[in-house]
Symmetry: C2
Amino acid sequence: MPSGSNLIGSKSSREGSITFRSFDPGNFRELPIEFFEATNEEIEQACQLADFAAKDLRFISKNKISQFLRSVKSELVSSKDEILSYYTLESGLSEERGNLEFARTTNLLEDYAEFISSPDFCVNEREVGEPTLVKTSFGIGPVVVFGASNFPLAYSTVGGDTVSAWVAQCPVIVKSHPMHAGTSELVGNAIQRAVKQSGMPEGIFSLVNGKSHQVGEKLVQHPLVRAVGFTGSHKGGRALFDLASKRKEPIPVFAEMGSVNPVILMDASPEKLVDQARKLSESISNDAGQFCTKPGIIFVPEQHLAFFYIELQNRLKEAPSFLMIHPEIQKRYMERVDEVAKANNGEQWRYRSSNHPLSAVISVTAVSMSKFQANLTFHEEVFGPHVLLVGYASENELTNTLKLLGGQLTISIFCSDFNKLKQMSFMSVIPGMAGRIILNGVPTGVRVCKASNHGGPYPASTDSRFTAVGFDSWKRFSREIAFQNFPMESTREMFNENPLG
Amino acid sequence: MPSGSNLIGSKSSREGSITFRSFDPGNFRELPIEFFEATNEEIEQACQLADFAAKDLRFISKNKISQFLRSVKSELVSSKDEILSYYTLESGLSEERGNLEFARTTNLLEDYAEFISSPDFCVNEREVGEPTLVKTSFGIGPVVVFGASNFPLAYSTVGGDTVSAWVAQCPVIVKSHPMHAGTSELVGNAIQRAVKQSGMPEGIFSLVNGKSHQVGEKLVQHPLVRAVGFTGSHKGGRALFDLASKRKEPIPVFAEMGSVNPVILMDASPEKLVDQARKLSESISNDAGQFCTKPGIIFVPEQHLAFFYIELQNRLKEAPSFLMIHPEIQKRYMERVDEVAKANNGEQWRYRSSNHPLSAVISVTAVSMSKFQANLTFHEEVFGPHVLLVGYASENELTNTLKLLGGQLTISIFCSDFNKLKQMSFMSVIPGMAGRIILNGVPTGVRVCKASNHGGPYPASTDSRFTAVGFDSWKRFSREIAFQNFPMESTREMFNENPLG
């Protein structure tokens, strides 16, 4: 069971007086454990330990980092039952989803452990001559990672941000998401054991709690912190970006802030549309649509809009019942759904398959192109199981409408005639708009590999030049140093095999 | 001869009413040509043309970009005499330096042309499976480049920033440096001819003039501009960074803002010290020390400080006479030199080898470690031929003092015993401080290759994760897109051979 403590290096610590509790969605009640918000002193200690560890980590070999990642994996596995039972308790997500997310997390650790000890992981450039230069990667320094509300494992305490920062040889201070602080602590305990076993400097990992914004703000403003990873709302991500940019020494913030993930349907045949409605309904409703890559807007040929609208409703009614993760998320979702309905003169389809107070209200809003173009509320994300259908009359109308949208994580196109697709004028627009472009598939489900890209032009992320998912995500937390005229053998010895190996 | 026009795409344009003139340092007079500050309309046109070109450039092959770079080179060569004569006129830099800088520029174009058509230039990742992903690089969009005062060719109109943005397939709008707007225009004319000959979209290059800050500010705030490259002062770079961060859609600014480039001397033998004084005196005085990599602080073992101080003076007195580039730069230099002298109770060595009003006053200030530690004015750059000597009593004192300094472009160490160096405690500090670490060499002279790194922790640059010099510098202006389940052959055809080749 969690104790409600902050984890500062190798210690548990609860010095503060402000406490909060997490919530059990399934039983719609607060959980008994009190979590202690980190004090200024605890934050200071975590930052000092991280700064100290950052220096040590520069001289640690990739093989040792590999061993550490595997040790974290094995400690997670040994606590799997405890972690997963608290995960389902605090999130209301199913055991099945918990198992998937757990596997995603341990796979990430294993895949990265393998990747960084392989020759593919080339971090050196060497140019002999006058002068001889060797360029090599170093960690940027202490990284603050904010746990995501919707992924208590895979994008939280030991998710993509934390693991990629470790791969870059940076220490990490995790700010736990208050909605699943208990899951975070249990995961954190496993990490603490792995740190000890692998002989890593204790400052490589700390975990601090906070329900107020103050803890996060203090971390982002702390002079020893060198970078930030965040997954969440636009409001939250932008606030952290602004804080970091105003520092005396500005630091990079990679914030992945969600997206409406436009989907374009181009096929006319009813069989295709039926199949697409099925695929998209699953992508919209699964885990109550609480994904940054959930399809938010579907552009449908005008003459098929009515058919697709009904077909989609039929499929969504067959979806299993899912809970929203927290009453706060449910509240914000319903506010947005109401806003969208209001902008459409109240016209909106809603469906709720259970009477559980957190049961997700699935909803679909069909709007005309002119209404869509005129009202910005339609262009913004609705986080949860809502989708907007927009009919389009012509290719040009669609192209011009896409130009009105901001940056996106993904754009999906369903089109069975690739030669036709190539001729579409919007194909010159979408590369400027999105980080991933999908043909005949749904945007949910992000593969973790070397070719992954998860990010996109603002406001999908704060920096479209980096990815939050996949093997390249470590580059967010890495800088390079050129060594000029250094003797190779001795330098290798000095910096261990890592930097100059 | 320059006409004083802005170059907006393929046109020359001078619609404004505000004008300024550049200066002839050699004859200490204003030059007759009036340069027209770009109007809001001209800026708008340049941005619109660039946005249009950005879309086209996504579908242009690397081979065509290669051809374009070679065409720019050949047009520069055909105007070489005209460009170089205006270069020496406007900058006061020697013909020899002009030839070096010209060669650096044409080599850059040639090297990049070769690099991007070689297999080394890998911009694709492909991962077959479920789903198949191909990740490929695209230009981030229109890039604004600010010409640097101290490099009228190699870091201005067609310098490292512009060429690397083109390599990333981005259009460029150059804001000419007002001190050499004429050289910029002549270079710009050559580029315009190359654009036409290569069949590039005209918006791939525009050049706007402005002596006030307003032109640059408008460019950085323009919604169609997607990134900024800047080389210059901390004040200027930070102002642009702040403007860009406050935008509705923030954009990346890579500002290289100079550095004090600490040098550490460790050898005791007089012969070594004499040799080091010779090397460093050239690095300090060459072209009046107007380089971002000029050595600004030399840490000398306390017992050798007096000897080295005298030896350095003797060498500096033998240096050729150089002019400051502009009265403004001279004024700011003398103000800083006075500040440093004042902080040292007036004690400072100065030397001037000519009576020319812009002749550089070389100066050396020797300060005690305690004074150095206590006064921040000693920690900041003096742009021009000044160097600070600081005596150190012990390794620990040096290590602790280095920790007080901000991020640096370079740190140089003169030490003939590498085994001794490896044991030094400051070797754990300097990797966190600098972008390039040099053994037994001076920091001036930046090699352009794959292993180059020119940047560093703030305030050396605004983003230590990127380099302003070398083949990797294009990454500042590039983002990636993952294509999911696209048929390879057809996509290759659609996006030409570049993105998916």
